[in-house]
């Protein structure tokens, strides 16, 4: 009799843990997706910033060249802004590629949370109900 009680208690604990896991991991997945979007936005802002700086330095270089004289400092500023912009764009491409691949794994995991896990919870509940019924029969037995 006490053995059956212990079984049911542990199984109910597992069922509660499965439900908590499903909700918590949904939050984890949402936060993960949010972090990707935040970084994408951050990189886009940085790329935009370096685009603006590049345009500014190019305009300053053109103005210097029209005046004549040593424009090497302006040329260096243009080169550096172009390199940094390219660097940021490479990171944007890398994050987009990796995020695309990760999206497939994330989608499979969300399917698990939305479909497979509720089925597992239902099966466990059915098992618990069956054990409880058996316990009631056992309790009524002379």
């Amino acid at each position: 009799m006490s053995r059956v009680h212990a079984d049911i208690g542990a199984l109910k604990g597992l069922h509660e843990a499965l439900v908590r896991f499903r909700y918590a991991q949904r939050g984890v997945a949402e936060r993960g997706a949010g972090e990707i979007e935040l970084t994408r936005a951050s990189l886009a802002a940085r790329a935009g910033d370096w685009e603006a700086r590049l345009e500014q330095h190019q305009a300053e270089l053109a103005a210097c060249r029209s005046r004549g004289g040593d424009c090497s400092a302006y040329a260096w500023a243009v080169e550096q802004a172009a390199e940094r912009l390219e660097h940021v764009r490479r990171w944007q491409q890398r994050v987009d590629t990796e995020a695309g691949e990760f999206g497939g794994t994330a989608s499979t995991f969300l399917d698990l949370l939305d479909s497979d896990l509720p089925r597992a919870e239902s099966q466990l509940l059915a098992g618990i109900a069956s054990l409880e019924a058996a316990r009631r029969v056992q309790a009524r037995a002379p």
Partner: protein, 70 residues
Amino acid sequence: MHTRPDRDGDEQLRLLGAAWEEADRHWRDEVARQFEADHWAPLVQRSRAYLDALCAMMDLLETAERETEF
């Protein structure tokens, strides 16, 4: 305190694993074996795969932020 989602996910999987171990100690019938094969093992495997991929993704995002900070 802000923690990375993959670390929170790891912790949730650890807690679920502890609940499974507790249930597994008392649950040794055919239904248990079927539940483990049909639900538990795939759940752990797919959760681990997702959390490892999420960890790698979070590492990449941190590196991207750091590497583009001039």
